[in-house]
Symmetry: C2
Subunit: 241 residues, 2 copies
């Protein structure tokens, strides 16, 4: 059984304000929950309509489909939903290759980029404070478990970029051809907002402007989606290893 108040609390976690207040977030579906269970994230409780999770030590509550639908952030709830504790904030490791997002707002894009970092072995993703929230249910679902293996850190980008000694690269429509440019093994690569690109405050700190060249005969495509651009830049980074 699950109380009305409990359902209300869990449904409130769809909103960032209440996630931050409670330090909790939700994950849905067996696969994503299972990946989180085998990570450093701490489980609070699993709610399921059928016996999916049955290890004795797990806190599990069986609920009706109706109740699960009330908690769920999906159009139609899966057969399980779990509440996890948010991870403590982490510091940025000062070395290595770092991907930086300047106000990427779409949760699906953030989720896809986290998945790409995992694939290409990028251990930390640094996000501006206005970037979509890691714990947004749509991000959690889109990462497909990759959020357990990539450290996502929110910080004031101008302050961080002013303090680092790493070379700073940014992606722009008018940058130099990335295919023909040497890329440092240690460095920072910045991707900008879906509509506006990199903000002027951050742009002022960029040392090298990179671009993916266009090949279309009629060159009208405005820009690549930020997640597909991330895919191409990370691939470029790694293919030269």
């Amino acid at each position: 059984m699950v109380s009305k108040n409990q359902i209300k609390l869990i449904a409130s976690l769809h909103q960032k304000k209440y996630r931050d207040q409670n330090g909790l977030f939700i994950a849905e579906g067996f696969k994503v929950i299972n990946e989180l269970l085998h990570s450093d994230f701490e489980l609070q409780n699993i709610y399921q309509t059928t016996a999916l999770f049955s290890e004795k030590q797990l806190p599990v509550t069986t609920v009706s489909e109706t109740d699960l639908n009330k908690m769920s952030a999906l159009k139609t709830a899966n057969n399980c939903l779990a509440v996890f504790k948010m991870a403590p904030e982490q510091a940025i490791a000062p070395q290595g290759f770092q991907l930086v997002l300047d106000d990427v707002r779409d949760p699906g894009n953030l989720g896809t980029i986290i998945r790409l970092c995992d694939w290409f072995g990028i251990p930390q993703l640094i996000c501006s404070l206005q970037t979509a929230d890691l714990y947004n249910p749509k991000v959690v679902q889109a990462t497909m478990g990759s959020m357990t293996r990539v450290r996502v850190i929110y910080t004031d980008l101008s302050a961080y970029l002013s303090s680092t000694n790493l070379p700073i690269m940014g992606t722009f429509m008018d940058g130099v051809n990335v295919y023909a440019t040497p890329l440092p093994k240690e460095g920072i690569l910045i991707l900008g907002n879906e509509a506006n690109g990199i903000s002027s405050a951050v742009e002022a700190l960029v040392q090298q402007r990179l671009a993916i060249p266009r090949f279309g005969a009629v060159q009208k495509t405005e820009s690549l989606n930020v997640a597909t651009a991330a895919a191409i830049f990370l691939s470029e980074m790694r293919r030269r290893d």
Copy 2:
């Protein structure tokens, strides 16, 4: 003014069955409509809540927000929606580089891939009959106008691939490293379904199996999203030109 029957007809175009019956599809928002107006697609009518399109020769109807919302496939309608005629079916041009989709079901993925084809100058995208419909309102929106510059052709893949003389490459988890493999300038590259990859009937016709190598230390990421994989393969194709 717009009649109730007209609203009903337009709302029915959210579904493939009625698009096919009427030979019509909808596009929403100034930018997408404007790109379609400057293409071979034939306009039937524009519905707008404010005077966005005002050239005299354009068939435009001013409607209320309420009526536009009834026609719209978006959660909240934009300020304009247009009905266009579907393009006549086209034949596959037998040469060049061709991207093939084997049952890519997500409209957002199809839209993103069409945008990538436009960026990388791939003139035709060949889709299995079960691939998401080009005229699905979500696809139309996701292409951001690129559908006016990329020929999307639906066909029986097994029949087509059996009849072509072009080299056939497919993307698989266990393929050879694409970074270290020569790619022909003329050829076919197949991407598979989001959950199941390339179907066994199509797999049997593949001559070269390609993969994007994983770099993550803990190699758990199941696969890349099909649109991000498309981005990386097309980038590989073009960077060598």
